[in-house]
């Protein structure tokens, strides 16, 4: 194979390798991006929704306390009652929606437990509210009916939030591990290919330089008319082989010339 062909093939090999590496890197980036998109669109969003519901539930309980504290004023009673029911609706709608979305069965069970507990609590709040309003705003009697009743649903929902947060953390860790594996694979493959190409390039260049060195040695001896015992053993299908072949012709011609000169001198 000609040196020019070898060099072109080597150049094409390097370019092809880098194009393939660029495509592989692009595909890997897309995979990572898709992984994080899926994480953001599902688990992170669900964990965020759970935190919103958690806050809404705490606000609902707070509204109840505002009713007891300030409900003796009709305007405040209306205001806090309305806000209480708004938070209550938000909590129930949010928890119902979330229960329909989560993939984790244990988390779904916790949400259903919470919804059942929340309904029970709503009934108790309603009964206590009747006592409060009907009993001339006796907040102590009303409070006695629901005191500490918000703890079990709160604890249940805290578990939901914790579980969803743990899921997000686990998914992020899994994603990071997958990215790490893909990065190591890409480094190993590209490193191996570059090493292989480097080795091929080094061997090719070494071979060319070695044969050029031999060619130069022959050329130097011909230039010095030192042809005694000279053998031009450089062959091959490339440019150096062709040059070596031409050198053989020059060598033979000089030998012939020397012989003729010697014969002429002897005559």
């Amino acid at each position: 194979m000609k040196i020019s062909t070898k060099l072109i093939l080597f150049f094409c090999g390097v370019v092809t390798l880098f194009v393939l590496l660029a495509f592989a890197l692009l595909a890997q980036t897309r995979t990572v991006s898709a992984g994080y998109d899926a994480l953001l669109s599902q688990q992170v969003r669900q964990a965020e929704a759970a935190r919103v519901i958690q806050v809404s539930f705490k606000k609902q309980v707070q509204e109840w306390k505002d009713i007891l504290l300030r409900g003796s004023a009709p305007a405040d009673l209306d205001k806090y009652t309305r806000q209480f029911h708004e938070e209550e609706s938000q909590v129930r709608a949010g928890a119902t929606k979330l229960a329909g979305e989560v993939q984790d069965a244990a988390c779904r069970d916790l949400l259903n437990e919470f919804l059942a507990a929340h309904r029970t609590l709503s009934d108790k709040y309603q009964a206590a509210y009747q006592v409060y309003v009907g009993g001339n705003f006796d907040f102590k009697s009303a409070d006695k009916l629901v005191r500490g009743q918000d703890r079990p649903p709160t604890d249940l929902f805290d578990q939901v939030v914790q579980r969803l947060s743990d899921d997000v953390s686990a998914s992020v860790s899994a994603q990071e591990r997958a990215v790490g594996r893909a990065r190591n694979l890409a480094l190993a493959v590209s490193g191996g290919l570059l090493l292989g190409l480097g080795l091929v390039g080094f061997l090719t260049v070494s071979n060319i330089l070695k044969r050029l060195g031999r060619l130069k040695a022959v050329s130097d001896r011909l230039a010095a008319a030192d042809i005694e015992g000279l053998a031009v053993d450089i062959s091959g299908p490339d440019e150096i082989g062709q040059f070596g072949d031409s050198m053989k012709g020059v060598h033979a011609a000089i030998e012939e010339l020397s012989r003729l000169a010697a014969a002429a001198a002897a005559a």
Binding site: D245, K248, G249, V250, H251, A252, A253, E255, E256, L257, R259, L260
Partner: protein
């Protein structure tokens, strides 16, 4: 002893003189001295025939 190859050199000298011998050596890559000890192989004979034809075509 390569009688046939040596004959090619004589032929070249007759037709084109000393320059013909030198050009024949250059084209065949075998000097007359080496031709004397080289084998009259079909390959060598073919190379010398082609070289001589080339010399004739070029007019020496």
């Amino acid at each position: 002893m390569a009688a046939k190859l040596t004959e090619f050199y004589k032929q070249a000298a007759q037709e084109f003189g000393l320059a013909g011998r030198i050009k024949l050596a250059m084209l065949t890559k075998i000097s007359s001295e080496k031709a004397e000890s080289a084998a009259d192989s079909p390959e060598n004979i073919r190379v010398f025939e082609q070289a001589l034809q080339q010399l004739r075509a070029a007019g020496g």
